[in-house]
């Protein structure tokens, strides 16, 4: 048994908790709590009104249950909506960041200390409800790039926030998006000015620490005309035997000829071998190719969370704009993932490409759900979709639900789907050539996910392979 526990904790090495004094609001959700959050953040009126109207709408909505899973009901009045590490003022420099927090991120392999400058990636670190550190701000501001916690952007750049917040994912969009709009506490804000190519990858690292607290972050990225940015998101949480709610909203806006590349490696705690605990990951991610010739590309490696409900989408409004979705979703034990994308073609000559790879092991369920909609205005739109499923063992399941709505006859759509299985004969064959079972899995998984991994920033793709191997350990061979 002790061995087993050791193995499990090895399985998820980010499962530790940080003991830190917190400033939090009591459990429950009502107007007072929302006002208190807004007040704590010192927000202008428009922001409070945004929250309150979202909350009004939310009260009339019902939790969606069309995804392919059942779960214990969430008691929204029994959750805390704000928890932040205690501090007097926001840290002015890295030296003022609580050493306990620095150590936490250090343990997670996220370099937020000043020496991070060497790493060549600018990082915003979000701990529970607030951003605790953002690196490289000075260098970025030389290029006119804004990369800061969204709570800071609300105060320092209200005109940008007011202009774009909620324009891609309206506060009324869906149950979880409305909830997020009412109570979101932090997240990242990015603005890339006209014709600027962001000189480094921008990255936000999300960490849930507090118990019985929902995490509701909000990310808003605006790429002005002719600009380019590559943004990376990573996330982990402690191992707890309760389920924790994570309901984020990400909005991307690409203006004329701009390009946004958004990569996620999602590694929230997935629960134990028996399906106890883990994060409910109910996320709304959407990008709008607002200008002609713009491009938005989502790449995700989904390896954690007990439940995943997310469909990073692209609204292809500008003529000649391009939307891409590359996804690897791995489920193990009792994990359930219902994920995919929506490509909404509105502009002329718009193109979209969907490559989805699902890997299911043990008792898990892995569902691809995607929509390609070609509006009447979308002359000569093109879509290519490929959905492949890989089964490990015979107790898991994989589903593919590709929805198509085509309202313009000039559209060209292609769809391919396959389901395959890792067999003991494949493993034996490769073993008999001198490859250890570990190398065998790595080769097979890499082969299966190749088209997605090559879209990830290099360091990330190495990490992604390792993460998948770790998550599959013990399920194969």
């Amino acid at each position: 048994m002790a061995d087993n526990e050791q193995f499990l904790s090895k399985d998820y090495k980010y499962g530790f908790t940080t003991n830190i004094e917190v400033d939090e609001l009591p459990k429950g959700l009502n107007e007072d709590i929302i006002k208190a959050i807004s007040q704590k953040k010192g927000e202008p009126d428009f922001m409070l009104n945004f929250r309150l109207s979202a909350f009004d709408k939310w009260k009339t909505m019902e939790e969606p249950h069309w995804a392919d899973f059942d779960y214990n009901p969430i008691d929204y009045q029994n959750l805390k909506y704000y928890s932040a590490p205690k501090k007097k003022e926001g840290p002015k420099s890295m030296d003022e960041v609580d050493p306990e927090l620095l150590e936490t991120f250090e343990k997670l392999g996220v370099p937020i200390h000043e020496r991070a400058r060497l790493a060549g990636v600018a990082i915003d670190a979000v701990f529970d409800s607030v951003s605790v550190a953002t690196t490289h701000q000075e260098l970025l501001s030389k290029h006119g790039i804004i990369f800061c916690p969204i709570s800071e952007a609300v105060k320092k750049h209200p005109e940008l926030v007011q202009k774009y917040l909620g324009t891609v994912v309206p506060p009324t969009d869906n149950f979880f998006a409305s909830l997020n709009s009412a109570v979101f506490s932090d997240g990242s804000f990015v603005y890339i000015p006209k014709n600027v190519r962001c000189p480094m990858d921008l990255s936000t690292y999300f960490r849930i620490n507090a118990s019985e607290t929902g995490q509701f972050e909000r990310t808003l990225i605006i790429a002005d005309e002719g600009s380019y940015v590559s943004y990376i998101e990573g996330c982990t949480a402690p191992m707890r035997d309760e389920n924790q709610l994570h309901a984020a909203v990400v909005e991307l806006i690409a203006l004329k000829d701009a390009e946004i590349k958004y990569s996620t490696v999602q590694n929230w705690y997935a629960g134990d071998k028996n399906g106890v605990g883990g994060i409910y990951n109910f996320v709304t991610k959407r990008g709008k190719c607002a200008g002609s010739g713009s491009k938005i590309s989502w790449t995700q490696v989904e390896a954690g969370s007990a439940l995943t409900w997310k469909y990073p989408s692209v609204i292809l409004q500008g003529d000649n704009s391009i939307g891409e979705f590359y996804s690897v979703a791995l489920t193990n034990n009792y994990m359930k993932a219902d994920t995919g994308t929506k490509m909404i073609h509105i502009g002329k000559n718009t193109k979209s490409r969907i490559i989805s790879k699902g890997i299911s092991a043990e008792y898990s369920t892995n569902t691809y759900r995607g929509l390609v909609r070609i509006a009447p205005s979308a002359e000569n739109a093109r879509n290519y979709s490929q959905c492949d499923s890989l089964l490990v063992g015979d107790k898991c399941s994989a589903n593919t639900f590709p929805y198509l709505e085509v309202k313009n006859n000039s559209a060209t759509l292609e769809h391919e789907a396959t389901t395959s299985k890792i067999s003991t004969d494949q493993i034996f064959y490769l073993n008999s050539r001198g490859l250890s079972t570990e190398s065998t899995i790595s080769l097979l998984i890499n082969g299966f996910c190749k088209e997605v991994f090559k879209e990830l920033p290099l360091e990330f793709s190495v990490e992604a392979v390792r993460l998948l191997e770790m998550r599959l350990e013990g399920s194969i061979g």
Binding site: Y429, N431, S432, R433, G434, L435, S436, L444, K450
Partner: protein, 256 residues
């Protein structure tokens, strides 16, 4: 170099091998023949370590670099790293993994295990090309997914390519000659013959004599019902081709 002592093995509770004894020395070529279902393929899978087979009795001693090792204690990949190879009767398809990528990974993992320097991708390409030329394999094989969509003949040729690259000490080739046309048989047969060295051993499992036109055996064994019932020289293979197994089987049953 390989001593199989009184091996019995079963699958799903059914006994397939019933006390096999076989001694293989360096430089030798052995042929194992026998009617279908006599346990020939099982023997090679047991030596390679297929997880479906349970060894109920006996041992396999592998004698390498003046050390005796108990093969059955090793995981399948370790056996391969130690120099055991099995050419599959039905090579498995591995989608998404290119032939070259696979061969380089396997080659380097074996090098690492044996304490030999690994080869970088460019050197490996040259090395691979040389082996492929020698088997008359076109360059298109390099980037194709391992065995995926290969014809029967291509798969068998690819098995011999793997043997040429990994350079094993003891190779069991399970019906590598079946399903080949005359030209493919010649290429495979000549390939095997060229891979025969003084410091390795080859065991051919076959139904036909025709492969022996290219590879000359030192011993021919006949397997029946999980046992080796007769061992002879090359002439035994001709005898079987002419008269079938019946008389040999009867002879062995009478002697019991």
């Amino acid at each position: 170099m390989l001593t199989i002592k009184n091996i019995s093995a079963s699958v799903d509770g059914k006994e397939i091998l019933k006390g096999i004894n076989l001694t293989i020395k360096t430089g030798e070529v052995h042929v194992i023949m026998g009617p279908n279902g006599s346990g020939k393929s099982t023997l090679s899978k047991v030596v390679a370590g297929h997880p479906d087979y349970e060894i109920t009795d006996g041992e396999v001693i592998y004698d390498i670099n003046f050390k005796k090792k108990n093969l059955l204690d090793m995981e399948p990949d370790i056996r391969a790293k130690e120099g055991i190879f099995m050419g599959f009767q039905y090579p498995v398809e591995i989608p998404g993994v290119s032939n070259e990528e696979f061969l380089r990974a396997a080659f380097n993992e074996i090098c690492k295990y044996q304490g030999v320097e690994e080869m970088d991708p460019l050197d490996f390409q040259d090395f691979l090309k040389e082996k492929m030329d020698f088997l008359g394999m076109g360059e298109k094989f390099v980037n194709r997914e391992l065995n995926v969509g290969f014809s029967g003949g291509e798969k068998k040729r690819n098995e011999i390519l793997q043997m040429a690259v990994l350079s094993p000490k003891v190779s069991f080739l399970d019906e590598t000659d079946s399903g080949l046309d005359v030209d493919a048989l010649r290429v495979v047969g000549e390939g095997i013959n060229r891979l025969k060295r003084r410091d390795n051993a080859i065991i051919l499992i076959t139904h036909y004599h025709r492969l022996l036109d290219y590879v000359k055996p030192d011993f021919v064994h006949v397997m029946y019902d999980g046992k080796i019932i007769k061992t002879g020289e090359e002439s035994l293979a001709y005898e079987i081709e002419q008269n079938g197994y019946d008389s040999i089987i009867k002879e062995s049953q009478n002697s019991n």
